[in-house]
């Protein structure tokens, strides 16, 4: 046998199995395109000129790794479907006299053909689309930069190396599979008699418990900061629950239906239920995968889209004022220098400054129970945590213009959430009488659900302030800090220059000074949230593609198995319409069960996700609801489309 014979054989195999191979090749091309684009953008020189490019680049390269890992998993998974389907064909070659070695050469050539097609086309489409994606990214980041068309050599090399090795590993797997089985096994292929699955009650119960616990955690979490940990625990519980319930719960439920004789022995239930029991046995894991992937797609997309759209809100919450200047261990001289610099730079850049509030303060963290505040050195994450800022009456008079005279045991209170509402409060045993409660303090106003509870104590004078803090902390080395906040206005170029000069001048010339600027943070926000959004869409697309692929191969492989079954039913007296109806019930159930569960998961996750979004200062829940519904709708439509396409392929096989 000559080499060209193998090549011809390999080519004709790929062509003849088009129905099996085409989706696999298409998926690979898609994955390779995405991988190339993501990597090419992450190494793009043009991004370096952008503010916040570090975090963006980090995110993009992280995205590249995530895509790489999932691509490998998906490719491997799909490949295992293919090789199972082709067992019979390969067994036939074996029986017709091809040795395992010859089959190995044939499979090697096939893999090479497929790899060359996929990597080649993937790279070309990647290069073409990377420019477009890059522009879309810049648009998302609202950053304009002139860029020529670049082809990243390092991305090409990496793509070829990575995907060649994935193809190589799948080939090794296939060869191992063929090598381990004898021709008769190969010929029989997947048509080995399936035993009826046993009901696994314990697993069902565990699944229910895990799912219930996950849902309960997700529903009952109240603290945004707790939500992060709870979210991961809940995700793991729900994943376990999903797998167990799909694997054992579905069969248990169907068996219960089967036990009900009056229900089971009805024309349309009879074949559907028994068919479903077998389908669930073979497909439970695949369906659970689809369910979890779908949930991942929905969560990723709805949150990233919400964050991106709600970015402006988030910025306003995190920055009530345009500029924050803080000086630690504030001396009178430093305070003067800071204020002079601000005036000087503002004048130089034609900037108008308003709502200017400067005050000295001390800060401690406490835990509150009833009317007691206990000093908390660990800065615990807890719903009891209250951060206290002490301010003197004279500073308050300056920033509010009101006169205020207080005794040492008297304070004026401002809380950033609902009013405290009582006359006295105890701080580590020191009783303080509350003279008045304010509804705003400088530029700070009340919020409905702040991330941290903050109390402002306005006290008689500096001595009282130091005394209170030192008694509470039992330490005598507490420093007084200074904070200056203001809003600025002017034309865009001036504002940008002003903020940058302020930042560099103050932080480099005055020790322990920090400047936070809304304007500068905005571009960071854009690069972080825009990056999230971009990666979210990419991963969403990847997961969706994988979902579609798994569904397609499930339908096809089941189609072949069911073909024989339906032939028999027809002979025994089942009409074509009855057969179609049972097929339909079964595919609809198999197909939409994962989507249904994904939506239920999302519904239960809603509470914990909104809490997590609080961590990003995102509080616009109606927007999140709209985004979630929109994503579910879009996803559902694509899912429906895939259903119609694959159902057609399935009917073609069964007929």
């Amino acid at each position: 046998m000559t080499k060209s014979f193998y090549l011809k054989l390999a080519f004709s195999n790929v062509r003849k199995n088009a129905r099996l191979f085409a989706p696999y090749i298409l998926m690979n091309i898609g994955i390779i395109t995405m991988f190339y684009i993501m990597h090419a953008i992450s190494v793009n020189e043009g991004l370096n000129t952008m503010p916040g490019s570090d975090s963006l680049k980090f995110m993009l390269s992280f995205g590249t790794y995530v895509i790489a890992i999932f691509s490998a998993i998906f490719m491997f998974y799909t490949n295992s479907f293919l090789i199972k389907r082709r067992k019979k064909e390969i067994g036939l070659y074996n029986i017709l006299g091809m040795g395992k070695r010859h089959i190995g050469i044939m499979l090697l050539l096939e893999s090479m053909i497929i790899a060359v097609i996929c990597i080649g086309v993937g790279l070309i489409s990647g290069m073409v689309l990377s420019k477009l994606m890059y522009l879309i990214l810049l648009k998302i980041l609202s950053f304009s930069v002139t860029m020529g068309f670049t082809v990243s050599i390092s991305s090409i090399t990496l793509t070829i190396l990575f995907f060649s090795s994935v193809f190589f590993v799948t080939l090794i797997y296939n060869l191992g599979h063929i090598h381990l089985s004898n021709p008769i096994q190969l010929l029989k292929g997947s048509a080995v008699g399936e035993k009826e699955p046993k009901t696994k009650w314990i697993m069902t119960l565990l699944g229910l418990v895990a799912l219930g616990a996950g849902y309960f955690l997700a529903l009952t979490v109240e603290e945004p900061l707790q939500a992060l940990l709870v979210f991961f625990v809940a995700v793991i519980l729900v994943m376990i629950g999903t797998y167990f319930l799909f694997i054992a719960g579905s069969i248990a439920a169907l068996k219960l239906l089967k036990k009900n004789k009056a229900f089971y022995y009805k024309a349309n239930h009879f074949t559907s239920i028994s068919g479903m029991i077998y389908r669930m046995k073979q497909n439970a894991v695949g369906l659970a995968n689809i369910c979890i992937l779908s949930t991942a797609v929905l969560v990723t997309l709805s949150t990233t889209v919400s964050l991106y759209i709600g970015m402006e809100d988030v910025l306003n919450i995190q920055f009530p004022s345009d500029v924050y200047i803080r000086n630690y261990d504030a001396e009178a001289n430093d305070i003067k220098v800071i204020n002079d610099k601000v005036d000087l730079l503002a004048e130089k850049n034609n900037i108008k400054i308003t709502d200017r509030y400067g005050f000295k303060y001390m800060y401690i963290s406490t835990l509150k129970s009833d009317h007691q505040l206990k000093y908390d050195i660990q800065y615990d994450v807890s719903s009891k945590r209250v951060d206290i800022t002490f301010v003197t009456a004279s500073d308050y008079e300056q920033l509010s213009g009101e006169n205020l005279t207080l005794d040492p045991d008297q304070i004026v209170l401002f809380t950033n959430s609902e009013n405290y509402g009582f006359d006295q409060i105890k701080l580590e045993g020191q009783t303080l009488n509350i003279v008045n409660e304010l509804d705003h303090f400088g530029g700070i106003t009340k919020a409905s659900q702040p991330l941290n509870t903050e109390y402002y104590f306005i006290v008689k004078d500096e001595k009282t302030m130091i005394n209170l803090v030192e008694t509470a902390t039992k330490k005598s080395d507490r420093l007084i800090d200074y904070q200056l906040t203001f809003n600025n206005s002017g034309n865009n170029a001036d504002l940008s220059r002003f903020n940058q000069e302020l930042m560099s001048d103050l932080t480099s010339n005055i020790s322990s000074t920090s400047v936070r600027s809304k304007l500068l943070a905005k571009s960071d926000f854009f690069s972080v949230y825009g990056g999230f959004f971009f990666i979210g869409i990419f991963l969403g697309a990847l997961f969706l593609m994988a979902t579609v692929m798994i569904i397609y191969y499930k339908q096809i492989s089941e189609g072949y198995d069911d073909k024989i079954r339906f032939e028999i039913m027809q002979k025994v007296g089942m009409s074509m319409t009855e057969i179609k109806r049972t097929i339909k019930t079964q595919i609809v159930m198999v197909f939409f069960l994962p989507l249904l569960f994904a939506i239920i998961h999302i519904a239960f996750a809603f509470n914990v996700i909104t809490k997590l979004l609080f961590l990003f200062s995102f509080t616009n829940i109606p927007l999140f609801i709209v985004c979630t519904f929109a994503t579910i709708l879009a996803f559902g439509l694509i899912y429906l489309l895939v259903y119609f396409l694959t159902a057609r392929a399935y009917y073609r096989i069964v007929k």
Binding site: G193, F270, R565, S575, M576
Partner: protein
């Protein structure tokens, strides 16, 4: 009284691109009386399977007609055909055609369930049949757990449970060992003696020798037939063999 009448049945297959025509049945006429046990023999390609498929209403003849109890098959609407098959005919196949996702009992129930029979009624009907076919203990086993002979008996039970007017058997012994074959053939004789009409298509001389009448098909026509009358199985066997030899060597029709 004749149960089924087959008049001038003709079936012509046309190849896909309109080219060659293949005549599977050229002119078949015979009838089956109530309570008869008829075997149809013929070589491969003689048209046996085509004939059986047409009698089973799975396929349609090019011309000619089939009457069951005086009603023509062609008067039945397409949508009612499967219900008709279910109610009037019972099938036994060479490869059993049991569904491996049902246990034997559910396989036997399948046609009744499709017809909407209540569970109680199904159970009542199953009992005597299962007893007669000696599969009472196997009802909850799955097809892959029982032997070929047991599978075929379950298939016979599935055919009998609808009380069909006619049982159509397609090479029922084809996949069985000699012991199971003997058992199955004596079963067929037994149910026939109880009044059940049976039509069997077979290659096997042994199977055909149990029938009360054997029809020979050659080149799409009924070539010859033998009545068993009071002959023993052995004598019948001899007679069939002679006829087959004659057929194979191209002898003239002997009446």
């Amino acid at each position: 009284m004749s149960l089924m009448e087959i008049n001038n049945l003709k079936k012509v297959y046309t190849t896909r691109f309109g080219g060659n025509q293949v005549v599977a049945l050229s002119n078949v006429t015979f009838s089956i009386e109530v309570g008869e046990y008829v075997a149809i023999m013929g070589e491969s390609g003689s048209g046996k399977t085509t004939l059986l498929n047409i009698l089973a209403s799975l396929d349609k003849p090019t011309s000619g007609e089939i009457l069951l109890n005086g009603n023509s098959f062609s008067s039945i609407k397409d949508g009612k055909l499967s219900a008709f098959r279910r109610d009037h005919l019972g099938f036994v196949f060479q490869d059993f055609n049991l569904l491996d996702n049902f246990n034997l009992q559910d396989n036997i129930f399948l046609p009744l369930v499709l017809a909407g029979t209540p569970y109680r009624e199904m159970e009542k009907r199953l009992k005597p049949i299962a007893k007669k076919l000696e599969i009472e203990d196997l009802l909850h086993k799955f097809p892959y757990e029982v032997s070929g002979g047991q599978k075929q008996r379950a298939a016979v039970a599935r055919a009998l449970i609808t009380n069909p007017e006619l049982i159509l058997a397609d090479e029922p012994t084809g996949a069985l060992d000699s012991k199971s074959t003997d058992h199955l053939l004596s079963l067929f004789s037994e149910i026939n003696n109880e009044g059940q009409t049976v039509l069997m298509v077979t290659h096997s001389v042994k199977a055909a020798s149990h029938a009360k009448r054997v029809l020979f098909i050659k080149d799409g026509e009924v070539f010859h037939q033998i009545y068993k009358g009071s002959m023993t199985n052995e004598l019948m066997y001899q007679k069939i063999t002679d006829t087959l030899t004659l057929l194979a060597t191209g002898g003239k029709r002997i009446d």
